[in-house]
Symmetry: C2
Amino acid sequence: MKRALELAAEAADQGEVPVGAVIVHGPTDRVLAEAHNRVLLDKDPSAHAELLAIRQACKVLDSERLIDCDLYVTLEPCPMCAQAISFARIRRLYYGASDPKGGGVEHGPRIFSSSSCHHKPEIYGGPGGEQAGELLREFFRGRR
Amino acid sequence: MKRALELAAEAADQGEVPVGAVIVHGPTDRVLAEAHNRVLLDKDPSAHAELLAIRQACKVLDSERLIDCDLYVTLEPCPMCAQAISFARIRRLYYGASDPKGGGVEHGPRIFSSSSCHHKPEIYGGPGGEQAGELLREFFRGRR
């Protein structure tokens, strides 16, 4: 999560909403992917940190499923990313700050609680949340 | 929608779940993007027709928002794609077959009805639905 927070800070430096994500292969502790938000940089509304990291890790493993892989992300994933996390069969999801406005895990459409969700990762909210929240607050203060 | 159905048939020929999508710039009728599912071909769990078409259209317009653009897709979008459609500010969503098992528009998490959904397209379900459904049924029959 420390690395994910560094990636989030890099995002802010580039004018992106500060969210960072890291995917680790659990059994070997190997880092498969690192990413931060790139919506504006890439002009791609789907370029959230989680989605970019998932695509990167799938390339590394040459598979559309990330079996035994864990995702660390600084902010509660949105519904798009939560559904992608389910499709990718991520084993554990660790996220920092809660996102009452845009989150899709414990807020809004609560993707993993839907009857049509076929894979739910183990979920750990909270680690790094304070720093992640501070990064976000600072970022949005600077833009007002 | 006719073109989206052709793309769905192409997907099936390549062993992919037959879903096709086309994005059109409404005011000019210009086709900006065409795609079909490529999850297995690309080994990317996020490579749904809609998401690929959105990314393609954003490249064409050099923008992360698809203002005045309409998306035609043969199947009800999943929650991931529905949220991406919202982020991209798609104007109108036309979809063919309903998807009670995996859909995220009129089923499951009903993304556009969530209070955290900031943009909801005009939605038109049904056109081409019969052919789209037949393509899907045929595909899954062949795999059992």
